[in-house]
Symmetry: C3
Subunit: 147 residues, 3 copies
Amino acid sequence: MPMWIVHAPEGVYSTEDKKNITEIITQFYVDTVALPRFYVVVRFDEYPVNSMWVGGVLVNDFVRIVVDHIARQMEDPAIRELCMSMMCEMLAPFTKDRGMRSEIHLDETAMDLWWVDGIKPPPPESEAEKKWALDNAPSPYELADAT
Amino acid sequence: MPMWIVHAPEGVYSTEDKKNITEIITQFYVDTVALPRFYVVVRFDEYPVNSMWVGGVLVNDFVRIVVDHIARQMEDPAIRELCMSMMCEMLAPFTKDRGMRSEIHLDETAMDLWWVDGIKPPPPESEAEKKWALDNAPSPYELADAT
Amino acid sequence: MPMWIVHAPEGVYSTEDKKNITEIITQFYVDTVALPRFYVVVRFDEYPVNSMWVGGVLVNDFVRIVVDHIARQMEDPAIRELCMSMMCEMLAPFTKDRGMRSEIHLDETAMDLWWVDGIKPPPPESEAEKKWALDNAPSPYELADAT
């Protein structure tokens, strides 16, 4: 579900960095809302010099993250603020602490307009989702387990 | 309207594949909701190795599709499910049948915040839209044809 | 806030063009809604030949712009139409006037799911936002200035 696109300057993150970043992000969703690990998709979309402009100025020290949340929606304003705060904190070692500016925003899109491997994912916290989390893979499921 | 972004591993799709994929997608919208063909935009955004991570694991056999629907919104849950199911089926020859994992999600955005060639597109199924479909090109239209 | 992604053919815009385009876009938001300049992020995402398909046809003369509005939402339909019209007009020298086709759409996403440099941005037109605009940079602020 969460689809992360990380716009970062070309070469700024090593493969090791990317592994660390994506493990931190994945663990965040596992710990907070018990998502199956494979739900967490992170695409690094590295930008060449000349590509990223902030306020009309060319920049090369800026990480811009765009996220779509799908499998979980947050209703409570306090939870939403906590989520943003936790995300910024967990990303700080790869942004602020390295002298880079950053910006992140999330959109929430409809869960029923999202399919994985040709299968409609089971409802949040259903038996079928728990199995998907345990297997770390999707599989067909019975309607009875979709609750 | 529909804006498709196909995140696919670099080189996995030939130009012929892309042509076939985009024709299938286009025809789907023409057949189901009579969209003008040129409304259907597909951007292949090929990712280099080291760029796509699923659950903290680097992958290179994964197609992640992100779609914005604009010119049509789907109200009926059954239609929404049918739409997702049909899309997955039509894409299967280019994903599952080739041994690749895939994931797709759609967002629906406001029709009035979408312009083509500097023109506000006519309402769904209006006379003006039918002309756009017939011409396969936008053109200025009279208010009388916007119904 | 506004996050612009400009899908343009590789090499079609010079650095000078990009500077002009991003200055025009930035000034638009400063003039109309007094945004801090650094809120305006523009990513040029240049596409290689073979990547952009419109209605099943490969194109290389097409600029597709995708925008997320975050810090301001537009309620009034007339304002929304005016906004789109102004944007298309200001972009015409870089699209239509150069013989390129173009398409743009905006999404509006939740302001509270957006943070800058680890800080929750202050409310629209608050004292803190005015300071951010004046400094052209984010900084911690007191709750008393968030009004």
